[in-house]
């Protein structure tokens, strides 16, 4: 085992972990917000908004992520240029985050919608019966219960987001896999399988941590008893 290769590569790979986590966290936060908004439209009655969202969601779920990233990467500057804004200085990671946020929000929306449809309507009516207004009912009854039902599906989504950060290097945003690739090409392909193996293990550990975290959160939420 070429330990010297690994010794020189491992610190560098680990240094990329914060960036990877950033590329995971920021889209997740944005998508949670945006996904909730989309979900509200999708379970609501407004005709035009509903169809606009349906098209939006259908696009992001029906096209490969890497194509979306490319389109945002090449297209966003042109879009801004059309309104006379120059975003040439933006780092590649920004495009990745934007593309991932838009993409993820569609999946979050569908997961939340499923969760919302599973909320026992009696709970919502109980909230109404004690006089909750719409916002109060939403924040105190609907949202917590939707989250509880959806959390395992959200867990799977989030693990996918973490793994998909490895696509960022294709537009030049450096993270774990990008760094591994750079090392490999610098070394003319010596030890590339080992390097990729180490990178794989790092991703695996991160995913395992996510899995444990979400499962713990799920158990915590269900400590009052599973619904039905």
């Amino acid at each position: 085992m070429p330990t010297h290769v690994l010794q020189s590569v491992l610190p560098g790979l680990l240094q990329q972990v914060p960036t990877t986590l950033l590329y995971w966290f920021v889209p997740s936060a944005i998508a949670l917000l945006l996904g909730t908004l989309l979900c509200i439209v999708r379970v609501g009655q407004h005709r035009v908004l509903y169809w606009a969202c349906t098209v939006f969601i259908s696009f992001f779920r029906g096209t490969p992520g890497i194509v979306q990233i490319y389109i945002i990467f090449f297209g966003l500057p042109k879009l801004f240029w059309a309104v006379h804004v120059d975003i040439d200085g933006w780092p590649a990671g920004a495009y990745f985050i934007i593309a991932t946020s838009l993409n993820l929000s569609c999946f979050v929306c569908e997961v939340l919608k499923g969760g919302y449809l599973g909320v026992d309507h009696g709970q919502i009516e109980a909230g109404k019966s004690i006089g909750f207004g719409r916002f109060q009912n939403f924040f105190r009854v609907i949202a917590p219960q939707t989250l509880q039902i959806s959390i395992l599906n959200l867990k799977n989504l989030e693990i996918d987001v973490l793994k998909d950060t490895s696509v960022a290097y294709t537009i030049g945003a450096m993270e774990i896999l990008g760094y591994a690739n750079r090392v490999i090409s610098n070394q003319f392909g010596v030890g590339q399988l080992w390097i990729l193996g180490v990178a794989a293990i790092i991703y695996f550990i991160l995913c395992a941590l996510l899995e444990l975290g979400f499962t713990a959160a799920s158990h915590h939420m269900e400590r009052h008893g599973r619904r039905s």
């Binding site: 029906g62 979306q68 490319y70 389109i71 240029w81 059309a82 693990i159 793994k163 294709t170 991703y203």
Partner: protein
């Protein structure tokens, strides 16, 4: 916005020509993924001690590593593997035609096979217990019961999930463009290189992917409607809440 609309229209057939390659890649990967899932799923369901745990460990590892990493790994590994297979079953190793396509199929099949294993297992488990008893009652032995009754029903139960994963797999083939495999995204990239019309080419590709995926989902809905009727549970006679 400054888009070369003429190019977008003229490039469409060019990019479309890459679609069959994408579909072929998807089909082969799905085939091997299902094969792997059936074998692994069977081992899990059979509850053979060490094998079942090993399969679960392997799948857990596969599911925890990004597809890109797996594709790149296979990409770098395949020259060695191909060299090692030289002479095996008449295969002649040719350093000028390294089988990157096969490498991509392997990576995709392994990745999706790990997920589809869960579908196989849960579909088999979802078949109503009463069916096994019915098979016994008619005098079938275990093997006959499983092959004639259980597996067909499990297969139908699994259709929605399988179609979902098929669509995921189709989208995943786009990543194969990173590892020297010619499929639709690569074709789009190549067609754009001359005039730097990347955005237009990618939009074309996106539209085609979108149409194909939406089409598959639509067909799946209709198909399930026809085939799935016998899988519906009998409507239970629920008393309406007295008003």
């Amino acid at each position: 916005m400054d888009l070369d609309y003429d190019f977008m229209i003229s490039d469409l057939p060019t990019v479309l020509a890459g679609l069959p390659k994408t579909l072929i890649l998807t089909f082969w990967s799905m085939l091997f993924a299902i094969a792997m899932a059936v074998v692994f799923g069977g081992l899990i369901l059979s509850r053979v001690p060490i094998l079942k745990q090993s399969v679960i460990i392997i799948n857990t590892f596969i599911k925890g590593v990004p597809l890109t990493v797996q594709l790149l790994f296979c990409y770098y590994a395949v020259p060695y593997v191909a060299k090692g297979c030289n002479g095996f079953l008449g295969y002649q190793y040719n350093p000028r035609h390294i089988p990157y396509f096969a490498a991509a199929v392997f990576a995709l099949a392994a990745n999706f096979g790990a997920y589809i294993t869960d579908v196989v297992v849960s579909s088999m488990r979802a078949v109503d217990r009463g069916q096994y008893e019915a098979a016994d009652a008619v005098g079938m032995n275990k093997f006959q019961g499983i092959t004639h009754l259980i597996i067909p029903q499990a297969a139908v139960i699994s259709i929605p999930s399988m179609t979902n994963y098929f669509i995921w797999l189709l989208k995943g083939t786009a990543l194969a463009s990173i590892v020297n495999v010619v499929e639709m995204l690569t074709t789009a990239k190549i067609s754009a290189a001359d005039g730097y019309q990347y955005l237009e080419a990618y939009i074309d590709a996106a539209v085609i992917y979108w149409a194909v995926c939406a089409g598959i989902e639509f067909m799946m809905g209709r198909f399930e409607h026809h085939i799935g009727f016998f899988m519906r549970q009998p409507e239970s006679r629920v008393r309406p809440i007295s008003s």
